[in-house]
Symmetry: C3
Subunit: 344 residues, 3 copies
Amino acid sequence: MIFTAQQIAEALNGVVEGDPSTEVTSLSKIEEGKKGTLTFLANPKYTQYIYQTQASIIIVNEDFTPEKKIPATLIKVKDAYSAFAQLLELYQQTKGKRSGISDRAYIAPSATIGKDVYIGEFVSVGENTIIGDNTSLFPHTTIGNNCRIGNSTTLFADVKIYDECIIGNECTLHAGIVIGADGFGFAQQQDKNYRKVPQIGNVIIEDNVDIGANTCIDRATLGSTIIRKGAIIDNLVQIAHNVEIGENTAVAAQTGISGSTKFGKNCILAGQTGFAGHLNIANGTIITAQSGVGRNIKEENTIYEGSPAFRHKDFQKSYIYFRRLSELVKRIDELEQKLKDNTK
Amino acid sequence: MIFTAQQIAEALNGVVEGDPSTEVTSLSKIEEGKKGTLTFLANPKYTQYIYQTQASIIIVNEDFTPEKKIPATLIKVKDAYSAFAQLLELYQQTKGKRSGISDRAYIAPSATIGKDVYIGEFVSVGENTIIGDNTSLFPHTTIGNNCRIGNSTTLFADVKIYDECIIGNECTLHAGIVIGADGFGFAQQQDKNYRKVPQIGNVIIEDNVDIGANTCIDRATLGSTIIRKGAIIDNLVQIAHNVEIGENTAVAAQTGISGSTKFGKNCILAGQTGFAGHLNIANGTIITAQSGVGRNIKEENTIYEGSPAFRHKDFQKSYIYFRRLSELVKRIDELEQKLKDNTK
Amino acid sequence: MIFTAQQIAEALNGVVEGDPSTEVTSLSKIEEGKKGTLTFLANPKYTQYIYQTQASIIIVNEDFTPEKKIPATLIKVKDAYSAFAQLLELYQQTKGKRSGISDRAYIAPSATIGKDVYIGEFVSVGENTIIGDNTSLFPHTTIGNNCRIGNSTTLFADVKIYDECIIGNECTLHAGIVIGADGFGFAQQQDKNYRKVPQIGNVIIEDNVDIGANTCIDRATLGSTIIRKGAIIDNLVQIAHNVEIGENTAVAAQTGISGSTKFGKNCILAGQTGFAGHLNIANGTIITAQSGVGRNIKEENTIYEGSPAFRHKDFQKSYIYFRRLSELVKRIDELEQKLKDNTK
């Protein structure tokens, strides 16, 4: 399909700068843009490429002012990244959706399957489990007994859902995810042996949640481990028993959260962060990458860094001096020497 | 089923404080306890809830002394957490156990299957492999050739066991675990290419071991990677070739252990810890979360922290001053200024 | 099979020291060596065992000089580890290779399967996908539509390849790997909800790449996430969208790399390292374990440590003083006291 800059600008509520009849047929990255493609500039790190790219149309933020001439036609919008995402969505919708129920799948007789569901090869659906309308189960996905999967939800290949877990509507779960394995709960006996504490709770994932590949969310000891609506979770994340992730909270890859810790709304946990158990983390908290949080965070919208973590600004000050510690030691050496000389 | 405080106290060897005829029908968390439920208090962080909970019976440690009146009936026991775990076990036993061998499973003709085994849909069992009595293989589990799985062991959905690996009795392996993949062994050639070192050993998991979802335990180059009896391992842990985990050692989530490192008994490795290769770690060692260990630990029962890790107490002292480094710098600045003034 | 020291030395271009007619029948670790086995010494940490081992033949580096008498026959070679790896390869080749296509596998009608391919039970191969000659797909592996898998490549149990991804020749992918899940791309809306950015690119893995169990490599937003030839990647690694891993770069377990970061050739990323997004890392860079890199690294062949990381040598200096921070504080205290005394 061919689109003109004018057509695209109208679809995105944007303004054309340059030739509105410029035509494109596909999308590209700005550093690899070719003639006939449309690209975008959102991250300032890539600004240099806007002067070099061969792309024919570039979507930019409305406050972008070029420093020199740009051969491409620009479309100015409020938020270039969101606008480009919108085009990607349109592009993806042109691709077909999988459908039908494979006769190589196993569906327990007591399970209930909704309308317009896709169930791939070797899927296994347990007793009394309910699968909602328009939901897709890719090959090898295994769902236990007494589970409930909502409408328009996608479970990619080989997702594992244990018994009694609940997944909402319009969720996306990527390959290899494990939902509802036992929490890591053991009581140490006097002879040092560990005795397993049965985990009789479940996992509840609300609507519009997105979870990355090979992430693990453990079932609660009692009650539920809960992922609130709109949360987004990346790959290889560990979420322990009885944790609660707040609405629209983002959890980057390889983060680990210990048992019973609860997060407010709109938090951002960067990659490889860690959290002790039984904490309460306030709305809007940001934790920088590789940091480790051992205490409650009560004030909203603060940033923490370090392991153990403290206020980001304070950490950064301390870290600057940590990098120069040998200089500081030299200054102390000199002070001692001078004082010695003075008192001779 | 209905139980009275008196009946439960007798089962747990506890003492009732309050009305021994108080009745309960289910279990709850203390912060969510409702009338007719039984809960417990073990972690002091939750003490506040004992004065608010609607739960009818609360199990507490025998040394617990309330600061104000508690409406619930108390049962005092030696170890509240263990006692509650016992009740959870009884509760779980009332749930049925899966049984039977699915005709959608593949079992190699030369494999030997014990008595009262559950084998779910799409399980694959390789040549000459032996599965013990009362063992459960949940859907999609794949076991290679020449493996041996003990009695009363549970492999949840989609566990992957490579050829020649051995799993003991009464083990629990959660979904997505990989046992026996090749160790990360390569010899770099002069042209910078890596040449793979074949990994011809195996993995041995002794009795009563519990392993979490998506954890990986690599096969040995030669000999065996060994997990000793009673060890407990959480989700997403990486255990490299020829590692040895000691008896009753606990390994929390996302910990990574490099090749040939050996741990004694009763160690505790907190979450996201890392270990260099070829180390020996003494019995009873504790490593705090996110710490990285690069040297042998010879003395038993010590605690290490930091990356690289050193003695916990020393780390804590250093970290307190790290947090205040800018204050220290100011003090050095002032000293320099004063000395300058003094020598004018 | 029986081999003499003489025969082995000839095969390895080595020199016998001791009795050239010494015979062995199998391989062992130096610390567990028994009579009739061959072992090797490469890591100096194990030198003590050469004087104790019962192994009959030991391969050593040509510059190795014993401090006391060794009962075993030595074979001196240029690189003992590589030489031993060669023997392991010969040993492994004596084991059979799996073959045949299981009738329990599902192969889409439009897929193309090469010659001498092994396809295990419950494998699923999607539409228009091409599988090369001599390639092995172990049980439960799932390959999407429009993929291309090269020749002589092994995919172990339960590898998941999403649509449109490309895997080269002579690659090894271990169990549980996920290739081509969506990158973690979301645009936050004004109401704080996240809107998913469709990920329409793919993953390209070039020839001779080795990837460890449960590792995740996300598909690109646009274009490709690329793993260059000869790269080796360990278990539980996270590689985000549009990342590029250079030739012969080694990535140890549990490393996490954020979107669009690009690595040169011959880099070494130790275990549990982390990388921010949109970085360029020069050829030959080494990052020590648990370090976190937040900036571009432009100079080749440097070593970085810390979180955030800076030059390894500088980090080590700072860390020595960090360990002694309380001493430094005491010195400052004393200086202040002395100055006070002096000015009385």
